[in-house]
Protein backbone atom coordinates (compact mmCIF):
# COMPACT_ATOMS: atom_id res chain seq x y z
CA UNK A 1 0.00 0.00 0.00
CA UNK A 2 1.24 3.50 -0.85
CA UNK A 3 2.35 5.64 2.06
CA UNK A 4 -0.55 7.53 3.56
CA UNK A 5 -3.10 5.36 1.78
CA UNK A 6 -5.68 3.02 3.25
CA UNK A 7 -6.70 0.95 0.27
CA UNK A 8 -7.90 3.58 -2.20
CA UNK A 9 -8.51 6.14 0.57
CA UNK A 10 -6.31 8.76 2.19
CA UNK A 11 -3.65 10.79 0.39
CA UNK A 12 -2.65 14.44 0.63
CA UNK A 13 -5.12 16.64 -1.23
CA UNK A 14 -4.05 20.03 0.09
CA UNK A 15 -2.76 23.30 -1.32
CA UNK A 16 0.90 23.41 -2.30
CA UNK A 17 1.40 26.06 0.41
CA UNK A 18 0.93 23.37 3.08
CA UNK A 19 2.91 20.56 1.47
CA UNK A 20 6.23 21.27 3.15
CA UNK A 21 4.45 21.68 6.49
CA UNK A 22 2.87 18.22 6.32
CA UNK A 23 6.12 16.70 5.07
CA UNK A 24 8.01 18.22 8.01
CA UNK A 25 5.33 16.90 10.34
CA UNK A 26 5.65 13.45 8.81
CA UNK A 27 9.43 13.46 9.25
CA UNK A 28 9.20 14.67 12.84
CA UNK A 29 6.56 12.07 13.65
CA UNK A 30 8.57 9.24 12.08
CA UNK A 31 11.49 10.26 14.28
CA UNK A 32 9.70 10.82 17.57
CA UNK A 33 7.43 7.79 17.42
CA UNK A 34 10.56 5.66 17.66
CA UNK A 35 12.19 7.91 20.24
CA UNK A 36 12.03 6.29 23.73
CA UNK A 37 12.42 9.70 25.39
CA UNK A 38 9.36 11.07 23.58
CA UNK A 39 7.30 7.98 24.31
CA UNK A 40 8.25 8.10 28.01
CA UNK A 41 7.31 11.77 28.23
CA UNK A 42 3.97 11.09 26.55
CA UNK A 43 3.24 8.09 28.79
CA UNK A 44 3.94 10.24 31.84
CA UNK A 45 1.51 12.91 30.61
CA UNK A 46 -1.19 10.37 29.75
CA UNK A 47 -0.91 8.63 33.11
CA UNK A 48 -0.24 11.43 35.57
CA UNK A 49 -2.03 14.31 33.85
CA UNK A 50 -4.85 12.74 31.84
CA UNK A 51 -5.51 9.91 34.32
CA UNK A 52 -4.83 6.86 32.15
CA UNK A 53 -5.35 4.01 31.97
CA UNK A 54 -9.09 4.63 31.79
CA UNK A 55 -11.30 2.06 33.50
CA UNK A 56 -12.96 -0.86 31.76
CA UNK A 57 -16.17 -1.06 33.75
CA UNK A 58 -18.51 -4.05 33.83
CA UNK A 59 -22.02 -2.63 33.34
CA UNK A 60 -23.87 -5.24 35.34
CA UNK A 61 -27.30 -3.60 35.47
CA UNK A 62 -27.28 -2.86 31.76
CA UNK A 63 -26.16 -6.43 31.05
CA UNK A 64 -29.03 -7.83 33.13
CA UNK A 65 -31.53 -5.41 31.69
CA UNK A 66 -30.71 -6.22 28.08
CA UNK A 67 -30.35 -9.95 28.70
CA UNK A 68 -27.62 -10.94 26.29
CA UNK A 69 -23.94 -10.16 25.95
CA UNK A 70 -21.89 -9.16 28.94
CA UNK A 71 -21.33 -5.42 28.55
CA UNK A 72 -18.19 -3.53 29.43
CA UNK A 73 -17.84 0.23 29.15
CA UNK A 74 -14.47 1.73 28.29
CA UNK A 75 -14.52 4.89 30.36
CA UNK A 76 -12.81 7.48 28.17
CA UNK A 77 -15.27 9.93 29.75
CA UNK A 78 -13.17 9.73 32.91
CA UNK A 79 -10.09 11.21 31.25
CA UNK A 80 -9.05 14.72 32.15
CA UNK A 81 -11.21 17.16 30.11
CA UNK A 82 -13.89 14.51 29.84
CA UNK A 83 -13.25 12.74 26.55
CA UNK A 84 -10.84 10.65 24.51
CA UNK A 85 -9.67 13.78 22.67
CA UNK A 86 -6.92 14.45 25.22
CA UNK A 87 -5.02 11.28 24.13
CA UNK A 88 -4.36 12.68 20.68
CA UNK A 89 -3.90 16.26 21.79
CA UNK A 90 -1.17 15.53 24.34
CA UNK A 91 0.70 13.55 21.70
CA UNK A 92 0.36 16.19 19.01
CA UNK A 93 1.19 19.16 21.21
CA UNK A 94 4.25 17.39 22.60
CA UNK A 95 5.29 16.68 19.02
CA UNK A 96 4.65 20.30 18.01
CA UNK A 97 6.75 21.50 20.91
CA UNK A 98 9.62 19.23 19.84
CA UNK A 99 9.30 20.70 16.35
CA UNK A 100 9.81 24.17 17.81
CA UNK A 101 6.24 25.37 17.26
CA UNK A 102 4.92 27.97 19.71
CA UNK A 103 1.32 28.21 18.56
CA UNK A 104 -1.39 25.63 17.97
CA UNK A 105 -4.68 25.93 16.12
CA UNK A 106 -7.55 23.46 16.10
CA UNK A 107 -11.07 22.90 14.82
CA UNK A 108 -13.77 21.70 17.14
CA UNK A 109 -17.31 20.42 16.78
CA UNK A 110 -18.78 19.60 20.16
CA UNK A 111 -15.96 21.54 21.75
CA UNK A 112 -14.28 18.53 23.36
CA UNK A 113 -11.29 18.62 21.03
CA UNK A 114 -11.07 22.41 21.42
CA UNK A 115 -11.13 22.10 25.20
CA UNK A 116 -8.50 19.35 25.12
CA UNK A 117 -6.28 21.46 22.84
CA UNK A 118 -6.71 24.57 24.97
CA UNK A 119 -5.89 22.48 28.03
CA UNK A 120 -2.70 20.98 26.65
CA UNK A 121 -1.66 24.36 25.22
CA UNK A 122 -2.06 25.90 28.68
CA UNK A 123 -0.06 23.05 30.19
CA UNK A 124 2.78 23.46 27.74
CA UNK A 125 2.75 27.23 27.51
CA UNK A 126 1.64 27.51 23.90
CA UNK A 127 -0.57 30.05 22.19
CA UNK A 128 -3.90 28.49 21.15
CA UNK A 129 -6.67 29.45 18.74
CA UNK A 130 -9.75 27.31 18.18
CA UNK A 131 -12.18 27.49 15.26
CA UNK A 132 -15.74 26.44 15.95
CA UNK A 133 -18.86 26.66 13.81
CA UNK A 134 -21.06 29.49 15.04
CA UNK A 135 -23.99 27.11 15.36
CA UNK A 136 -21.87 24.85 17.58
CA UNK A 137 -20.70 27.76 19.75
CA UNK A 138 -24.38 28.17 20.62
CA UNK A 139 -25.28 24.53 21.25
CA UNK A 140 -22.02 23.99 23.16
CA UNK A 141 -21.70 27.36 24.92
CA UNK A 142 -20.23 25.82 28.06
CA UNK A 143 -17.27 24.45 26.13
CA UNK A 144 -16.64 27.86 24.54
CA UNK A 145 -16.35 29.33 28.00
CA UNK A 146 -14.06 26.52 29.13
CA UNK A 147 -11.71 27.16 26.19
CA UNK A 148 -11.58 30.88 26.97
CA UNK A 149 -10.94 30.11 30.62
CA UNK A 150 -7.99 27.99 29.53
CA UNK A 151 -6.52 30.94 27.66
CA UNK A 152 -7.53 30.03 24.09
CA UNK A 153 -8.98 32.41 21.56
CA UNK A 154 -12.20 31.00 20.09
CA UNK A 155 -13.25 32.03 16.57
CA UNK A 156 -16.90 31.50 15.64
CA UNK A 157 -16.95 30.35 12.02
CA UNK A 158 -19.89 31.74 10.06
CA UNK A 159 -19.14 30.35 6.59
CA UNK A 160 -21.08 27.47 5.03
CA UNK A 161 -23.23 25.54 7.49
CA UNK A 162 -21.36 27.04 10.49
CA UNK A 163 -20.63 23.58 11.89
CA UNK A 164 -17.67 21.19 12.16
CA UNK A 165 -16.94 20.96 8.42
CA UNK A 166 -16.62 24.73 8.19
CA UNK A 167 -14.47 24.81 11.31
CA UNK A 168 -12.08 22.35 9.62
CA UNK A 169 -12.01 24.45 6.41
CA UNK A 170 -11.33 27.62 8.37
CA UNK A 171 -8.54 26.03 10.43
CA UNK A 172 -6.91 24.82 7.21
CA UNK A 173 -7.14 28.35 5.81
CA UNK A 174 -5.62 29.75 8.98
CA UNK A 175 -2.76 27.25 8.75
CA UNK A 176 -1.89 28.41 5.21
CA UNK A 177 -1.64 31.96 6.58
CA UNK A 178 0.81 31.16 9.35
CA UNK A 179 2.86 27.99 9.12
CA UNK A 180 6.33 28.61 10.56
CA UNK A 181 5.42 28.80 14.24
CA UNK A 182 2.06 27.01 14.06
CA UNK A 183 0.94 23.39 14.28
CA UNK A 184 -2.57 22.37 13.31
CA UNK A 185 -3.78 19.92 15.97
CA UNK A 186 -6.28 17.99 13.87
CA UNK A 187 -8.79 16.33 16.14
CA UNK A 188 -9.87 13.29 14.19
CA UNK A 189 -8.34 10.49 12.13
CA UNK A 190 -8.91 12.45 8.95
CA UNK A 191 -7.35 15.12 6.77
CA UNK A 192 -4.16 14.75 4.74
CA UNK A 193 -1.49 12.19 5.55
CA UNK A 194 0.12 11.97 8.12
CA UNK A 195 -2.81 13.15 10.29
CA UNK A 196 -4.99 10.02 10.04
CA UNK A 197 -2.02 7.90 11.10
CA UNK A 198 -0.85 10.22 13.88
CA UNK A 199 -4.32 10.53 15.39
CA UNK A 200 -4.94 6.78 15.12
CA UNK A 201 -1.63 5.97 16.79
CA UNK A 202 -2.25 8.36 19.67
CA UNK A 203 -5.82 7.07 20.11
CA UNK A 204 -4.86 3.41 19.80
CA UNK A 205 -4.02 3.45 23.49
CA UNK A 206 -7.77 2.82 23.93
CA UNK A 207 -7.79 -0.61 22.24
CA UNK A 208 -4.43 -1.54 23.73
CA UNK A 209 -5.87 -1.00 27.20
CA UNK A 210 -9.18 -2.72 26.42
CA UNK A 211 -7.28 -5.78 25.28
CA UNK A 212 -5.06 -5.90 28.37
CA UNK A 213 -7.88 -5.14 30.79
CA UNK A 214 -10.25 -7.69 29.30
CA UNK A 215 -7.60 -10.40 29.10
CA UNK A 216 -6.92 -9.80 32.75
CA UNK A 217 -10.59 -9.89 33.80
CA UNK A 218 -12.05 -12.43 31.41
CA UNK A 219 -9.00 -14.10 29.94
CA UNK A 220 -10.31 -13.56 26.42
CA UNK A 221 -10.98 -11.11 23.63
CA UNK A 222 -14.33 -9.34 23.27
CA UNK A 223 -16.83 -10.49 20.64
CA UNK A 224 -17.77 -6.96 19.65
CA UNK A 225 -16.38 -3.45 20.11
CA UNK A 226 -18.75 -0.52 19.54
CA UNK A 227 -17.89 3.14 19.14
CA UNK A 228 -19.49 6.21 17.62
CA UNK A 229 -18.06 7.55 14.36
CA UNK A 230 -17.94 11.13 13.12
CA UNK A 231 -14.46 11.56 11.68
CA UNK A 232 -13.83 8.41 13.67
CA UNK A 233 -10.99 9.02 16.13
CA UNK A 234 -12.40 7.30 19.20
CA UNK A 235 -13.60 4.42 17.03
CA UNK A 236 -10.25 3.89 15.31
CA UNK A 237 -8.62 4.07 18.74
CA UNK A 238 -11.00 1.43 20.10
CA UNK A 239 -10.69 -0.80 16.99
CA UNK A 240 -7.03 -0.58 16.12
CA UNK A 241 -5.47 -3.38 18.18
CA UNK A 242 -8.37 -5.69 17.28
CA UNK A 243 -8.16 -5.29 13.51
CA UNK A 244 -6.04 -8.43 13.17
CA UNK A 245 -8.30 -10.36 15.56
CA UNK A 246 -10.91 -11.47 13.04
CA UNK A 247 -13.23 -12.90 15.73
CA UNK A 248 -13.87 -9.41 17.14
CA UNK A 249 -16.74 -7.55 15.46
CA UNK A 250 -15.90 -3.88 15.05
CA UNK A 251 -18.99 -1.70 14.86
CA UNK A 252 -18.97 2.02 14.14
CA UNK A 253 -22.16 3.92 14.97
CA UNK A 254 -22.83 6.85 12.66
CA UNK A 255 -25.13 9.78 13.34
CA UNK A 256 -28.26 9.30 11.24
CA UNK A 257 -29.80 12.54 12.53
CA UNK A 258 -33.50 12.42 11.62
CA UNK A 259 -32.91 9.24 9.60
CA UNK A 260 -30.85 8.00 6.65
CA UNK A 261 -33.85 8.39 4.35
CA UNK A 262 -33.98 12.14 5.11
CA UNK A 263 -31.61 14.94 4.06
CA UNK A 264 -31.01 15.68 7.74
CA UNK A 265 -28.41 13.03 8.39
CA UNK A 266 -24.66 12.78 8.91
CA UNK A 267 -24.33 9.02 8.30
CA UNK A 268 -21.50 9.12 5.78
CA UNK A 269 -20.99 5.43 5.12
CA UNK A 270 -24.74 4.81 4.90
CA UNK A 271 -25.45 7.72 2.53
CA UNK A 272 -22.16 9.09 1.15
CA UNK A 273 -20.00 8.22 -1.81
CA UNK A 274 -16.34 8.29 -2.70
CA UNK A 275 -14.86 11.76 -2.98
CA UNK A 276 -11.96 14.08 -2.18
CA UNK A 277 -12.28 16.72 0.53
CA UNK A 278 -10.40 18.11 3.50
CA UNK A 279 -7.15 16.63 2.31
CA UNK A 280 -8.27 13.03 1.84
CA UNK A 281 -9.98 10.61 -0.45
CA UNK A 282 -12.77 8.90 1.47
CA UNK A 283 -16.56 8.70 1.64
CA UNK A 284 -18.46 11.99 1.83
CA UNK A 285 -22.08 13.08 1.89
CA UNK A 286 -22.36 15.01 -1.37
CA UNK A 287 -24.62 15.68 -4.32
CA UNK A 288 -24.14 14.39 -7.89
CA UNK A 289 -21.91 17.38 -8.70
CA UNK A 290 -19.58 16.75 -5.77
CA UNK A 291 -20.94 19.61 -3.67
CA UNK A 292 -20.55 18.68 -0.02
CA UNK A 293 -23.93 18.12 1.65
CA UNK A 294 -25.08 20.24 4.60
CA UNK A 295 -25.32 17.38 7.08
CA UNK A 296 -27.21 17.28 10.35
CA UNK A 297 -27.04 15.51 13.70
CA UNK A 298 -28.08 16.46 17.22
CA UNK A 299 -24.48 15.69 18.09
CA UNK A 300 -22.11 18.51 17.16
CA UNK A 301 -19.20 16.07 17.35
CA UNK A 302 -20.64 13.70 14.73
CA UNK A 303 -22.11 16.42 12.53
CA UNK A 304 -19.51 15.95 9.78
CA UNK A 305 -20.03 14.98 6.10
CA UNK A 306 -16.99 12.71 5.84
CA UNK A 307 -15.27 9.86 7.62
CA UNK A 308 -11.59 9.08 8.20
CA UNK A 309 -9.88 7.15 5.38
CA UNK A 310 -8.97 4.14 7.52
CA UNK A 311 -12.64 3.63 8.40
CA UNK A 312 -13.55 3.88 4.72
CA UNK A 313 -11.04 1.13 4.03
CA UNK A 314 -12.17 -1.05 6.96
CA UNK A 315 -15.65 -0.76 5.49
CA UNK A 316 -14.49 -1.63 1.95
CA UNK A 317 -12.66 -4.67 3.30
CA UNK A 318 -15.68 -5.74 5.31
CA UNK A 319 -13.55 -5.70 8.45
CA UNK A 320 -15.72 -3.20 10.30
CA UNK A 321 -19.46 -2.60 10.14
CA UNK A 322 -21.04 0.84 10.23
CA UNK A 323 -24.59 1.36 11.39
CA UNK A 324 -26.75 4.48 11.49
CA UNK A 325 -28.29 5.66 14.78
CA UNK A 326 -30.91 8.40 14.85
CA UNK A 327 -31.17 11.44 17.15
CA UNK A 328 -34.14 9.85 18.88
CA UNK A 329 -32.31 6.61 19.57
CA UNK A 330 -29.23 8.47 20.81
CA UNK A 331 -31.22 10.69 23.17
CA UNK A 332 -33.03 7.63 24.55
CA UNK A 333 -29.69 5.93 25.12
CA UNK A 334 -28.29 9.06 26.76
CA UNK A 335 -31.10 8.91 29.33
CA UNK A 336 -30.94 5.12 29.57
CA UNK A 337 -27.28 4.96 30.58
CA UNK A 338 -27.78 7.77 33.09
CA UNK A 339 -30.55 5.86 34.86
CA UNK A 340 -29.25 2.36 34.39
CA UNK A 341 -25.61 2.84 35.34
CA UNK A 342 -25.37 6.37 36.76
CA UNK A 343 -23.18 7.39 33.85
CA UNK A 344 -24.11 10.36 31.67
CA UNK A 345 -22.41 9.74 28.31
CA UNK A 346 -21.66 12.36 25.69
CA UNK A 347 -24.45 12.47 23.12
CA UNK A 348 -21.82 11.27 20.62
CA UNK A 349 -21.05 8.18 22.72
CA UNK A 350 -24.78 7.66 23.28
CA UNK A 351 -24.99 6.67 19.61
CA UNK A 352 -22.86 3.61 20.41
CA UNK A 353 -24.91 2.88 23.53
CA UNK A 354 -28.08 3.02 21.41
CA UNK A 355 -26.86 0.37 19.01
CA UNK A 356 -25.60 -1.75 21.91
CA UNK A 357 -29.17 -1.82 23.24
CA UNK A 358 -30.27 -3.41 19.97
CA UNK A 359 -27.34 -5.75 19.58
CA UNK A 360 -26.73 -7.07 23.10
CA UNK A 361 -30.02 -9.05 23.36
CA UNK A 362 -29.17 -10.79 20.07
CA UNK A 363 -25.86 -11.97 21.49
CA UNK A 364 -25.31 -14.90 23.82
CA UNK A 365 -24.73 -14.57 27.56
CA UNK A 366 -21.31 -16.10 27.03
CA UNK A 367 -20.37 -13.26 24.69
CA UNK A 368 -18.69 -9.98 25.55
CA UNK A 369 -19.33 -6.53 24.15
CA UNK A 370 -17.25 -3.42 24.81
CA UNK A 371 -18.76 0.03 24.27
CA UNK A 372 -16.36 2.93 24.07
CA UNK A 373 -17.82 5.76 26.14
CA UNK A 374 -15.76 8.39 24.35
CA UNK A 375 -16.84 11.33 26.49
CA UNK A 376 -19.02 12.52 29.29
CA UNK A 377 -22.34 14.18 28.77
CA UNK A 378 -22.36 17.22 31.03
CA UNK A 379 -21.85 19.44 27.98
CA UNK A 380 -25.02 18.02 26.40
CA UNK A 381 -27.46 18.39 29.28
CA UNK A 382 -28.88 21.73 28.15
CA UNK A 383 -29.32 20.53 24.56
CA UNK A 384 -30.98 17.27 25.60
CA UNK A 385 -33.31 19.19 27.93
CA UNK A 386 -34.24 21.41 24.96
CA UNK A 387 -34.80 18.30 22.83
CA UNK A 388 -37.26 17.15 25.49
CA UNK A 389 -38.94 20.54 25.49
CA UNK A 390 -37.44 21.82 28.71
CA UNK A 391 -35.42 25.02 29.09
CA UNK A 392 -32.67 24.94 31.68
CA UNK A 393 -29.89 27.32 32.50
CA UNK A 394 -26.46 26.00 31.57
Amino acid sequence: MKKGRYGIHGGQYIPETLMNAVRELEEAYEFYKKDPGFQAELAELLNEYAGRPSRLYYAERMTEDLGGAKIYLKREDLNHTGAHKINNVLGQILLAKKMGKTRVIAETGAGQHGVATATAAALMGMECEVFMGEKDTKRQALNVYRMRLLGAKVHAVTSGTATLKDAVSETMREWTKRIDDTHYVLGSCMGPHPFPEIVRDFQSVISREIKEQLLEREGRLPDAVLACVGGGSNAIGAFYHFIEDESVRLIGCEAAGRGVDTAETAATIATGKLGIFHGMKSYFCQDEYGQIAPVYSISAGLDYPGVGPEHADLYDRGRAEYVPVTDDEAVDAFEYLARMEGIIPAIESAHAVAYARKLAPQMGEDQIMVINISGRGDKDCAAIARYRGEDIYE
Binding site: Q12, K177, I179, L274
Partner: protein, 256 residues
Protein backbone atom coordinates in the same frame (compact mmCIF):
# COMPACT_ATOMS: atom_id res chain seq x y z
CA UNK B 1 1.35 26.36 -30.50
CA UNK B 2 -1.46 25.95 -27.96
CA UNK B 3 -3.85 28.77 -27.11
CA UNK B 4 -2.27 28.97 -23.64
CA UNK B 5 1.23 29.35 -25.10
CA UNK B 6 -0.05 32.06 -27.42
CA UNK B 7 -1.42 34.00 -24.45
CA UNK B 8 2.14 34.60 -23.24
CA UNK B 9 3.64 35.45 -26.65
CA UNK B 10 5.47 38.80 -26.78
CA UNK B 11 3.47 40.30 -23.93
CA UNK B 12 2.74 40.10 -20.24
CA UNK B 13 -0.48 38.20 -19.75
CA UNK B 14 -3.30 39.61 -17.69
CA UNK B 15 -5.38 36.71 -16.35
CA UNK B 16 -8.70 37.56 -14.74
CA UNK B 17 -10.65 35.03 -12.67
CA UNK B 18 -14.43 34.97 -12.38
CA UNK B 19 -16.78 32.50 -10.72
CA UNK B 20 -19.15 30.93 -13.24
CA UNK B 21 -22.75 31.77 -12.44
CA UNK B 22 -22.02 34.77 -10.23
CA UNK B 23 -24.51 36.34 -10.56
CA UNK B 24 -25.68 34.12 -13.48
CA UNK B 25 -24.20 32.28 -16.48
CA UNK B 26 -25.47 34.86 -18.95
CA UNK B 27 -23.43 37.53 -17.17
CA UNK B 28 -20.43 35.19 -16.96
CA UNK B 29 -20.54 34.77 -20.73
CA UNK B 30 -20.79 38.54 -21.29
CA UNK B 31 -17.88 39.07 -18.89
CA UNK B 32 -15.66 36.74 -20.91
CA UNK B 33 -16.23 38.72 -24.13
CA UNK B 34 -15.87 42.08 -22.38
CA UNK B 35 -12.66 41.06 -20.58
CA UNK B 36 -11.13 39.78 -23.83
CA UNK B 37 -12.07 43.07 -25.49
CA UNK B 38 -10.46 44.94 -22.57
CA UNK B 39 -7.17 43.12 -23.06
CA UNK B 40 -7.27 39.92 -21.00
CA UNK B 41 -4.92 37.27 -22.41
CA UNK B 42 -6.40 34.18 -20.75
CA UNK B 43 -9.45 33.73 -18.55
CA UNK B 44 -9.82 31.55 -15.50
CA UNK B 45 -13.36 30.28 -15.07
CA UNK B 46 -14.15 29.12 -11.55
CA UNK B 47 -16.56 26.21 -11.21
CA UNK B 48 -18.18 26.83 -7.84
CA UNK B 49 -17.59 24.40 -4.97
CA UNK B 50 -19.49 24.33 -1.71
CA UNK B 51 -16.36 24.36 0.48
CA UNK B 52 -13.49 26.12 -1.32
CA UNK B 53 -10.70 25.76 1.25
CA UNK B 54 -8.11 27.82 -0.65
CA UNK B 55 -10.36 30.87 -1.01
CA UNK B 56 -10.79 33.91 1.14
CA UNK B 57 -14.23 35.32 1.98
CA UNK B 58 -14.77 37.19 -1.33
CA UNK B 59 -14.52 34.12 -3.58
CA UNK B 60 -16.14 31.84 -0.97
CA UNK B 61 -19.21 34.05 -1.11
CA UNK B 62 -19.18 34.09 -4.92
CA UNK B 63 -19.19 30.28 -4.85
CA UNK B 64 -22.18 30.25 -2.55
CA UNK B 65 -24.06 32.85 -4.64
CA UNK B 66 -23.46 30.84 -7.81
CA UNK B 67 -24.56 27.54 -6.27
CA UNK B 68 -27.68 29.13 -4.77
CA UNK B 69 -28.43 30.40 -8.27
CA UNK B 70 -28.56 26.79 -9.48
CA UNK B 71 -25.32 26.57 -11.44
CA UNK B 72 -24.00 23.07 -12.14
CA UNK B 73 -20.90 21.69 -13.84
CA UNK B 74 -23.02 20.52 -16.79
CA UNK B 75 -24.48 24.00 -17.34
CA UNK B 76 -20.95 25.42 -17.22
CA UNK B 77 -19.74 22.96 -19.88
CA UNK B 78 -22.60 24.13 -22.11
CA UNK B 79 -21.72 27.78 -21.52
CA UNK B 80 -18.03 27.15 -22.26
CA UNK B 81 -18.97 25.48 -25.55
CA UNK B 82 -21.07 28.54 -26.51
CA UNK B 83 -18.18 30.87 -25.65
CA UNK B 84 -15.71 28.80 -27.67
CA UNK B 85 -17.82 29.25 -30.79
CA UNK B 86 -17.33 33.01 -30.56
CA UNK B 87 -13.76 33.48 -29.36
CA UNK B 88 -10.34 31.85 -29.34
CA UNK B 89 -9.23 33.34 -25.99
CA UNK B 90 -7.63 30.60 -23.84
CA UNK B 91 -9.96 29.40 -21.07
CA UNK B 92 -8.89 27.52 -17.98
CA UNK B 93 -11.20 25.92 -15.41
CA UNK B 94 -10.36 26.54 -11.77
CA UNK B 95 -12.17 24.35 -9.28
CA UNK B 96 -11.65 21.75 -6.54
CA UNK B 97 -10.75 18.08 -6.77
CA UNK B 98 -14.17 16.78 -5.75
CA UNK B 99 -15.99 18.70 -8.48
CA UNK B 100 -13.87 16.90 -11.09
CA UNK B 101 -13.72 13.55 -9.27
CA UNK B 102 -17.49 13.34 -8.79
CA UNK B 103 -18.07 13.61 -12.57
CA UNK B 104 -15.40 10.97 -13.22
CA UNK B 105 -12.02 12.49 -13.97
CA UNK B 106 -11.85 11.12 -17.53
CA UNK B 107 -15.42 12.17 -18.27
CA UNK B 108 -14.78 15.65 -16.90
CA UNK B 109 -11.59 16.08 -18.95
CA UNK B 110 -13.33 14.87 -22.11
CA UNK B 111 -16.32 17.20 -21.65
CA UNK B 112 -14.05 20.15 -20.85
CA UNK B 113 -11.89 19.50 -23.92
CA UNK B 114 -14.96 19.15 -26.14
CA UNK B 115 -16.23 22.47 -24.81
CA UNK B 116 -12.96 24.12 -25.87
CA UNK B 117 -11.39 24.50 -22.44
CA UNK B 118 -7.58 24.64 -22.49
CA UNK B 119 -6.49 23.82 -18.96
CA UNK B 120 -7.45 22.87 -15.42
CA UNK B 121 -6.33 24.30 -12.07
CA UNK B 122 -7.09 22.38 -8.86
CA UNK B 123 -5.63 24.13 -5.80
CA UNK B 124 -6.23 21.09 -3.58
CA UNK B 125 -4.26 18.72 -5.80
CA UNK B 126 -0.51 19.06 -5.14
CA UNK B 127 2.32 17.43 -7.11
CA UNK B 128 2.11 14.14 -5.17
CA UNK B 129 -1.54 13.59 -6.13
CA UNK B 130 -1.60 15.15 -9.57
CA UNK B 131 -1.12 12.12 -11.82
CA UNK B 132 -4.67 10.85 -11.32
CA UNK B 133 -5.88 14.15 -12.81
CA UNK B 134 -3.00 15.15 -15.09
CA UNK B 135 -3.11 11.78 -16.89
CA UNK B 136 -6.71 12.32 -17.97
CA UNK B 137 -5.97 15.93 -18.91
CA UNK B 138 -3.08 14.85 -21.17
CA UNK B 139 -5.29 12.28 -22.84
CA UNK B 140 -7.74 14.97 -23.90
CA UNK B 141 -5.21 17.71 -24.61
CA UNK B 142 -5.82 19.88 -21.53
CA UNK B 143 -2.94 21.44 -19.61
CA UNK B 144 -3.01 20.52 -15.92
CA UNK B 145 -1.67 23.70 -14.34
CA UNK B 146 0.76 23.35 -11.43
CA UNK B 147 0.99 25.77 -8.52
CA UNK B 148 4.05 26.78 -6.54
CA UNK B 149 3.90 28.66 -3.24
CA UNK B 150 6.27 30.80 -1.14
CA UNK B 151 6.79 27.69 1.02
CA UNK B 152 7.65 25.39 -1.92
CA UNK B 153 11.43 25.98 -1.78
CA UNK B 154 13.21 22.81 -3.02
CA UNK B 155 9.92 21.49 -4.40
CA UNK B 156 9.90 24.11 -7.15
CA UNK B 157 12.30 22.15 -9.38
CA UNK B 158 10.34 18.92 -9.12
CA UNK B 159 7.06 20.73 -9.83
CA UNK B 160 8.47 22.80 -12.71
CA UNK B 161 9.93 19.75 -14.42
CA UNK B 162 6.48 18.18 -14.82
CA UNK B 163 4.57 21.44 -15.33
CA UNK B 164 2.34 21.99 -18.32
CA UNK B 165 0.78 25.13 -19.85
CA UNK B 166 2.00 27.70 -17.36
CA UNK B 167 3.06 27.73 -13.72
CA UNK B 168 0.76 29.45 -11.25
CA UNK B 169 3.01 31.19 -8.69
CA UNK B 170 1.15 31.85 -5.44
CA UNK B 171 2.43 35.22 -4.24
CA UNK B 172 1.67 34.98 -0.54
CA UNK B 173 0.82 32.69 2.32
CA UNK B 174 -2.84 32.26 3.12
CA UNK B 175 -5.92 32.16 0.92
CA UNK B 176 -7.09 34.24 -2.04
CA UNK B 177 -8.03 37.85 -1.41
CA UNK B 178 -6.66 41.33 -2.00
CA UNK B 179 -3.61 42.37 0.03
CA UNK B 180 -2.07 45.79 0.47
CA UNK B 181 1.37 44.31 0.74
CA UNK B 182 3.03 41.41 -1.11
CA UNK B 183 6.43 40.74 0.43
CA UNK B 184 7.39 37.46 -1.25
CA UNK B 185 10.19 37.73 -3.82
CA UNK B 186 8.04 36.37 -6.63
CA UNK B 187 10.79 37.16 -9.13
CA UNK B 188 13.04 34.65 -7.37
CA UNK B 189 10.30 31.99 -7.54
CA UNK B 190 9.90 32.61 -11.25
CA UNK B 191 13.68 32.38 -11.79
CA UNK B 192 13.79 29.02 -10.00
CA UNK B 193 11.08 27.66 -12.28
CA UNK B 194 12.87 28.93 -15.40
CA UNK B 195 16.16 27.35 -14.31
CA UNK B 196 14.41 24.01 -14.65
CA UNK B 197 12.01 24.56 -17.51
CA UNK B 198 11.19 27.19 -20.08
CA UNK B 199 7.53 27.68 -19.20
CA UNK B 200 5.47 30.83 -18.63
CA UNK B 201 4.97 31.86 -14.99
CA UNK B 202 1.95 33.87 -13.87
CA UNK B 203 1.68 35.25 -10.34
CA UNK B 204 -1.59 35.33 -8.42
CA UNK B 205 -3.08 35.77 -4.90
CA UNK B 206 -3.46 39.22 -3.42
CA UNK B 207 -2.93 41.35 -6.52
CA UNK B 208 -5.50 44.11 -7.05
CA UNK B 209 -3.87 47.42 -8.05
CA UNK B 210 -2.21 48.48 -11.33
CA UNK B 211 0.95 49.30 -9.32
CA UNK B 212 1.13 45.76 -7.96
CA UNK B 213 0.48 44.34 -11.42
CA UNK B 214 3.27 46.44 -12.95
CA UNK B 215 5.75 45.56 -10.22
CA UNK B 216 5.02 41.82 -10.19
CA UNK B 217 4.62 41.69 -13.97
CA UNK B 218 8.14 43.07 -14.35
CA UNK B 219 9.65 39.80 -13.07
CA UNK B 220 7.06 37.32 -14.33
CA UNK B 221 5.11 36.49 -17.48
CA UNK B 222 1.76 37.62 -16.20
CA UNK B 223 -0.51 38.30 -13.26
CA UNK B 224 -3.72 36.63 -12.12
CA UNK B 225 -6.45 38.65 -10.41
CA UNK B 226 -9.53 37.10 -8.82
CA UNK B 227 -10.94 38.68 -5.69
CA UNK B 228 -10.70 42.29 -6.95
CA UNK B 229 -12.89 41.35 -9.94
CA UNK B 230 -15.25 39.13 -7.98
CA UNK B 231 -15.81 42.07 -5.62
CA UNK B 232 -17.09 44.08 -8.59
CA UNK B 233 -19.41 41.21 -9.56
CA UNK B 234 -20.71 41.10 -5.98
CA UNK B 235 -21.23 44.85 -5.88
CA UNK B 236 -22.86 45.41 -9.26
CA UNK B 237 -24.51 42.03 -9.94
CA UNK B 238 -25.87 41.79 -13.50
CA UNK B 239 -24.69 45.35 -14.17
CA UNK B 240 -21.07 44.45 -13.45
CA UNK B 241 -19.82 43.98 -17.04
CA UNK B 242 -18.71 47.57 -17.84
CA UNK B 243 -17.11 47.98 -14.41
CA UNK B 244 -15.13 44.77 -14.79
CA UNK B 245 -14.14 45.70 -18.36
CA UNK B 246 -12.87 49.08 -17.20
CA UNK B 247 -10.86 47.45 -14.41
CA UNK B 248 -9.35 44.84 -16.76
CA UNK B 249 -8.38 47.61 -19.18
CA UNK B 250 -6.61 49.52 -16.43
CA UNK B 251 -4.72 46.42 -15.28
CA UNK B 252 -3.77 45.43 -18.82
CA UNK B 253 -2.40 48.89 -19.48
CA UNK B 254 -0.36 48.78 -16.28
CA UNK B 255 1.18 45.52 -17.45
CA UNK B 256 2.01 46.69 -20.98
Amino acid sequence: MSRIQEAFQDKKAFIPFITCGDPDLETTEKLVYAMEEAGASLIELGIPFSDPTAEGPVIQEANIRALLGGVTTDKIFDMAARIRQRTQIPLVFMTYANVVFSRGIGHFAKRAAEAGIDGLILPDVPFEEKEEFAGACREYGLDFISLIAPTSRERIRMIAEKASGFVYCVSSLGVTGTRSDITTDTGAMVRMVKETKKIPCAVGFGISTPEQAARIGATSDGVIVGSAIVKLCARYGRECVPYVAEYVKKMTEALA
